[in-house]
């Protein structure tokens, strides 16, 4: 005899169906509206490959910076308690809730040519506005909180006993961090990386306002899509499809790596 599903189960299913439809329909539409031939054509179009390459390059640089600096920072925030920690964490998370336009304005007023640190940046011989470096700054600014937040949660959930054990065995904290904390927290770190990657790849407003839009230098895929939207809708659509595919591929491969790590390092 089959048990009838309860009302609550029905409600859950209903909500999932609505969520799924709402989230996937627009993405499915991108692919239904463009043929594979158009997709390939659009990649051959001047500027599209430049944009794709630039997006991948800037995202990779920005993610590398985020991982190198963000991981130890998140570890510190997760494992120490100090006065004003809640405030510090809030500050780190703040860019999460900033609209892209605000991020653009904020970057301009901080390190733009007439920003508060504009002179210092210029004196150091660094050019950000209208340069690829500016795109990296914009991506790093908007994407890093996604990673740091997730990494903090991952480190915080690691059982302190493990680290204590490694210390009892004579390992330094740095060694414990590298050999124990990072491997154990890895699934969380990978998830955070995936989020930050997605955010960086899709960044639009802050890049446009802070770095401008120029093919091969600052025009990332989202900017190239926007540039084509009005006059070449099909090309914009095709480029959007490419971005969706690339993002999905990155997300998927990150998840696969994460999966194999978990399988490989699972309880023995």
């Amino acid at each position: 005899m089959k048990r009838r599903p309860g009302r609550f189960a029905v409600l859950l299913t209903l909500c999932l169906a609505v969520t799924l439809t709402f989230l996937t329909l627009p993405i499915v539409a991108i692919f239904l509206d463009s043929s594979p031939a158009e997709l390939i054509d659009s990649l051959g179009e001047e500027g599209a490959l430049d944009a794709l390459w630039l997006s991948l390059k800037t995202t990779a640089i920005s993610i590398t910076i985020i991982l190198l600096v963000g991981t130890p920072a998140a570890y510190l925030l997760a494992t120490r308690s100090f006065r004003g920690k809640a405030f510090v964490v809030t500050l780190v998370e703040l860019p999460l809730v900033l609209p892209p336009a605000v991020a653009g304005i904020a970057l301009l007023s901080a390190v733009g040519p007439s920003g508060i640190l504009g002179g210092t940046v210029e004196a150091a011989g660094v050019e950000l506005t209208f340069e690829t470096a500016g795109v990296v700054v914009a991506l790093t600014f908007v994407a890093s909180p996604f990673y740091v937040r997730q990494a903090m949660a991952a480190f915080a959930s690691v059982d302190g006993v493990m680290l204590d054990a490694s210390r009892t065995l004579g390992a330094s904290e740095a060694r414990g961090f590298l050999r124990v904390m990072i491997p154990v927290a890895l699934p969380g770190l990978v998830a955070g990386t995936a989020l930050a990657l997605g955010r960086a790849l899709g960044e639009f407003g802050a890049t446009l306002m802070f770095a401008g839009s120029f093919q091969g230098i600052t025009q990332t895929v989202p900017l190239a899509i926007y540039d084509r939207f009005s006059t070449e809708f099909d090309a914009a659509l095709a480029l959007s499809a490419v971005l969706v595919a690339v993002s999905a591929a990155i997300l998927l491969s990150v998840k696969l790596v994460h999966g194999s790590e978990v399988l490989g390092g699972a309880p023995r």
Partner: protein, 261 residues
């Protein structure tokens, strides 16, 4: 399993139904209320002028005016994608003519002119187009798809080829609309840009306009029409008429626009 599928299908229908309900609700709201809603899609360069005169139109017609500003090309693309707007006012005449040709817009009327100028920060030492061709000058222009961008290329094409190439080589950003160009200049990021004189006026002294020689100046005429799919076509035509005569015509003039040719 079967019930789950059935539920998923039901949810789909429900979702679709809800969407429709929302639309209908919106229609009923604007239709049965006391005030009618007029959606105006206008080129970014008219932002200050139309924001200034819209309240007077609202009072006179007992309507609620929704102004939507963006690049003219973008607004045209929205209309092509089925956006329901009641007035389309562009920064050129070719986009309205195109939409008219596609049966998406009423026959366009020309309602104002603007002046194409070289804009530089107020303290800049740049005095002419020749200065902009110097190496190292950062030039910010409109993307080719927006009217300001095509005016810019049209104008530069009239320069001696060497100078045209030098200026285009100095371009550091192709902005999606006029606001982007002005923003980069007021922030000191760019050294020079090509915009409309009204945009320079709107910065309240942060930028100064440098007149271009007459033969370089493209003819900048603004055209507008009422989209075929407008919800309020009559009121749309009222608004259109007001662009050449009435509070909006005055506001445009105050912002630095010229009268229709």
């Amino acid at each position: 399993m079967r019930w789950a599928l059935a539920l998923a299908a039901a949810a789909l229908l429900l979702g679709a139904g809800c969407g429709d309900d929302d639309d209908d609700g919106g229609d009923a709201g604007s239709g049965s209320g006391d005030t009618t809603r007029l959606v105006v899609s206008a080129a970014s360069s008219m932002t200050e002028a139309l924001e200034a005169c819209a309240p007077e139109f609202e009072d006179a017609e007992d309507a609620d005016v929704r102004l939507s500003f963006a690049g003219s090309d973008e607004l045209a693309a929205q209309i092509r994608q089925g956006a329901r707007v009641d007035v389309y006012a562009a920064a050129n005449t070719s986009l309205p003519e195109e939409l008219y040709g596609e049966d998406l817009l009423s026959e366009p009327v020309e309602f104002a002119t603007n002046e194409f100028v070289l804009a530089v920060p107020a303290d800049s030492e740049i005095e002419s187009v020749e200065d902009v061709a110097q190496p190292g000058i950062k030039v910010v222009v409109g993307s080719e798809s927006v009217p300001i961008g095509s005016y810019t290329r049209e104008s530069l094409a009239k320069l001696p080829p060497g100078q045209e190439q030098a200026i285009l080589g100095n371009v550091v950003s192709n902005e999606p609309d006029v606001k982007g160009i002005v923003g980069k200049l007021t922030q000191g990021a760019g050294d020079a840009g090509f915009v409309y004189v009204t945009d320079v006026n709107a910065t309240g002294g942060d930028l100064k306009a440098i007149d271009l020689p007459d033969d370089l100046e493209p003819d900048v005429t603004y055209g507008a029409g009422v989209p075929t799919e407008a919800r309020e076509p009559e009121l749309g035509h009222e608004f259109l008429a007001g662009l050449t005569l009435g509070p909006c015509a005055t506001a445009l003039e105050e912002a630095g626009f010229g009268p229709s040719p």
